[in-house]
């Protein structure tokens, strides 16, 4: 085990752990946000740059600080490393810059977006965004497209985290979608308008940190905060059958996988509990499911009531 200090909290972690995972083991406020890293999908991370942290001392052997901010999701900890996240002004500034970049081409259509209320970008916007944009130019726009018969892609909202590409690569037999073009023009798309058609494609919706990939059986049906989440189970021969059903009265509006506070699908009985498309899209009748009990949503989120209320009052920047 090696010792690492993150924001004055000392923790012991296994060698090879990344800074982000070490911070998650410590828990609390010192965990850097992550938009592209997904611990259940190897190879993700490093792209969004929201998890940048300052390394004030590299290790006991070489205590020099690292000159640049590093991506905490892909930098392994060293013995005696001192990391500053919340306590670093530099991190705060640059994270604000990254959020500004992410919002530059974002349509900010939260009022009509199904992800609103559980959107990572929305959370980041509250924490680091400014109330006014400095971007005067026209935003890049795409038309929404269907990728597969159950999934809608709003490329305008996409932040190119590549998580859905990793899902398709790692959960399904063949990947038919990926990133086309480059730079600002880069877009997620299927190759020559192929349709995504496999049993686990719906998990792309769960991993998407923003509202770029949405569930066509749920789109525009209800805001997420009007629904009551219940842990539920069903017998399924394709997946674990362990899911969360989102209900209004006796009606099931949508089904998602069980997600932890970082928005990642939970590990149940040593397996990542991905759910199959049958469970997600077709089992909308309460008789399909055995309800276990209410699901507590403890993720940082705009819908976590009251979390941002006081912050808004104290933050004149947001009152304009």
């Amino acid at each position: 085990m090696i010792k690492v200090t993150i924001d004055d909290v000392e923790i012991e972690v296994a060698p090879g752990t990344t800074i982000l995972n070490a911070a998650r083991q410590a828990g609390g406020d010192l965990v850097p946000p992550a938009m592209c890293y997904y611990s259940k999908l190897p190879g993700t991370g490093g792209k969004c740059r929201t998890c940048l942290v300052e390394v004030a001392a590299g290790s006991t052997a070489d205590p020099r600080p690292m000159p640049k901010l590093v991506a905490s999701c892909s930098t392994p900890v060293m013995d005696g490393m001192i990391v500053k996240n919340k306590t670093s002004e530099r991190v705060h500034n640059n994270r604000g810059g990254v959020v500004e970049f992410l919002l530059v081409n974002h349509p900010l259509d939260c009022p009509i977006c199904d992800q609103a209320g559980e959107c990572h970008l929305q959370d980041l916007g509250y924490e680091h965004g400014s109330a006014k944009t400095r971007y005067r130019e026209e935003r890049r726009t795409f038309s929404p497209i269907d990728i597969g018969n159950k999934i809608k892609l709003h490329m305008n909202r996409c932040i190119l985290c590549y998580r859905c590409v990793a899902v398709a690569n790692q959960l399904t037999d063949s990947r038919v979608h990926g990133v086309l073009h480059r730079g600002e023009h880069a877009e997620i798309s299927t190759y020559i308008e192929n349709a995504i058609d496999n049993d686990f494609s719906g998990n792309m919706i769960d991993v998407c940190p923003v509202g770029a990939l949405t569930d066509k059986t749920f789109r525009f049906k209800s805001r997420v905060w009007f629904l009551k989440p219940y842990e539920a189970e069903c017998a399924c021969d394709k997946c674990s059958g362990k899911a969360v059903v989102w209900m209004f009265g006796n009606e099931i509006f949508r089904v998602t996988a069980r997600k932890d506070k970082y928005g990642e699908v939970e590990t149940i009985e040593d397996k990542t509990a991905w759910i199959c498309n049958d469970c997600r899209f077709d089992k909308k009748d309460p008789s399909n499911w055995t309800l276990i009990g209410p699901r507590k949503i403890d993720r940082h989120s705009v819908i976590s009531q009251g979390k941002y209320a006081t912050k808004n009052d104290n933050n004149p920047k947001l009152l304009h």
């Binding site: 991370g45 490093g46 792209k47 969004c48 740059r49 929201t50 940048l52 000159p67 640049k68 901010l69 991506a71 892909s74 392994p76 640059n94 810059g97 990254v98 500004e100 970049f101 992410l102 530059v104 081409n105 400095r134 971007y135 005067r136 130019e137 890049r140 932040i159 190119l160 590549y162 990926g178 990133v179 073009h181 480059r182 730079g183 600002e184 023009h185 880069a186």
Partner: protein, 446 residues
């Protein structure tokens, strides 16, 4: 006139063929290395020579080689980065076009030093005709026993493959190059692990610039110490400089490092001054991604000493009053050139070439391009100038690969040294546009 170690025979007729090249002393380094030296001795010579990477970063080549992991039973690779895409740089193309066998010779000697059995030349997609020249030369080398099995009876086998890229600037970044070489989308990889540990197909790999590999030939022939005697301090040897812009005689020059910048621009053996009797306005000494220098900092440093063509002297003063030697793309601007327009042009290039993987670079380069477009076309405001500086700071250092820095530095430097010109574009846009000498519209009649 300084010594030429690389391109001395470049203009000899027929030098691209094996026989002529051999007659002019070619492949001597292969014979010397394979017959009389151990691989480690070759690495030692390169270390002694003080050769620094010629691709732009200036990292010592010998040290890079010694970082190469050598686990038992795992193949190692040498990859030559011939994806020369830096605006203002064209030395590698010249070298490969004229002296394909010099690169192949360097590849054989270097591969031997690193213990690589399969080496690659990754060449820029636009250089299709150079690819054919190289392929022909490689076939000749195979036919003459310089490549393939048991080279010169030494028991050392080497296969050399030349592969074209798709013409993306980003594929000049070493890990993006490796991705592209593996047949994937050219996105830079997260580091660590570095290529020296996990590179091409997961094997330890060294990626070197064309000129660095070619420089191994004179180092092995004459010895590392003799090579280190050329140049000043930690800038040893000779360097190819691609001079372009408003010069009387632009072109590729091989200089001994330590030549003064003044001599290089105005000297009779070199560029012979600014064309059409104009005055020097600014200079970018190392390719488009390094900071621009205004005329008063080109030949003298801020401290008043002579500016020399070395890694250290060009960087003297840091980013406040210095620049970098970079890849040696020496771009000169005369008094008529518009810095704002030029900066916009570079920004447009970087916005176009960003791979789009990480947010600061993807969104930041595009944003800068749009703001600079507005400034250049008379639609800017004074706040835009400070906005550019802000965007710059948020990109620099926060990206996966150095493309973000490369996009940020030229804009930051242009504003630092030519802020008045940016302000002039805001305050009198009409005048600023017409003074662009016909680029937007015909100049006003005097």
């Amino acid at each position: 006139m300084s010594r030429k170690l690389l391109i001395e025979h470049a203009e000899v007729p027929g030098i691209a063929s094996y026989e002529t090249y051999r007659k002019h002393g070619g492949y001597a380094s292969v014979e010397k290395a394979l017959k009389t030296m151990s691989p480690d001795e070759v690495v030692e010579e390169v270390k002694k020579s003080g050769l620094r990477g010629r691709g732009g970063a200036g990292f010592p080549t010998g040290m890079k080689w010694s970082f190469l992991a050598k686990p038992e039973g795992v193949e190692r690779h040498l990859v030559c980065n011939a994806d020369e895409s830096e605006p203002g740089t064209f030395k590698d193309r010249y070298l490969m076009e004229k002296l394909p066998h010099l690169l192949i010779e360097g590849m054989i000697t270097s591969s031997y030093a690193l213990g690589a059995r399969r080496s690659y030349i990754y060449i820029r997609g636009e250089f299709m005709y150079v690819l054919r020249i190289l392929e022909k030369a490689i076939a000749e080398a195979y036919a003459n026993g310089m490549l393939g099995k048991n080279i010169l009876g030494s028991g050392y086998d080497l296969d050399l493959v030349v592969t074209p890229g798709g013409g993306a600037y980003i594929c000049g970044e070493e890990t993006a190059l490796l991705e592209s070489l593996e047949g994937k989308r050219g996105n830079p990889r997260m580091k660590p692990p570095f290529p020296a540990v996990k590179g091409l197909w997961g094997n330890p790999t060294v990626v070197n610039n064309v000129e660095s590999i070619a420089a191994v030939v004179p180092i092995v022939n004459e010895g590392g110490e003799a090579y280190a005697k050329i140049g000043i301090e930690r800038s040893t040897g000779t360097k190819l400089i691609s001079a372009s812009g408003n010069l009387v005689r632009p072109g590729v020059y091989e200089i001994e490092l330590g030549l003064s910048v003044e001599e290089f621009i105005y000297g009779d053996n070199y560029c012979r001054g600014i064309a059409n009797g104009k005055k020097l306005k600014a200079c970018i000494p190392g390719g488009s991604s390094v900071p621009i220098l205004p005329h008063y900092l080109v030949t003298k440093t801020a401290a008043g000493t002579d500016r020399l063509m070395t890694y250290e002297s060009l960087a003297d003063g840091g980013f406040a009053s210095g620049s970098m030697l970079g890849s040696g793309g020496f771009i000169v601007f005369d008094e008529d050139q518009c810095i704002v327009r030029n900066t916009w042009n570079f920004a447009r290039f970087y916005a176009h070439e960003s791979c789009g993987q990480c947010s600061p670079c993807r969104e930041g380069t595009g944003w800068m391009e749009k703001v600079l477009y507005r400034l250049e076309h008379g639609m800017g405001t004074l706040e835009d100038i400070s906005l550019l500086e802000e965007i710059n700071k948020k990109i620099e250092g926060n990206t996966i690969c150095p493309l973000g820095d490369a996009a940020a530095w030229p804009v930051a430097a242009a504003i630092r040294h030519f802020r008045d010109e940016f302000e002039w574009h805001v305050k009198s846009p009409q005048e600023a546009q017409t003074r662009n000498y016909g680029l937007i519209q015909a100049p006003l009649e005097a």
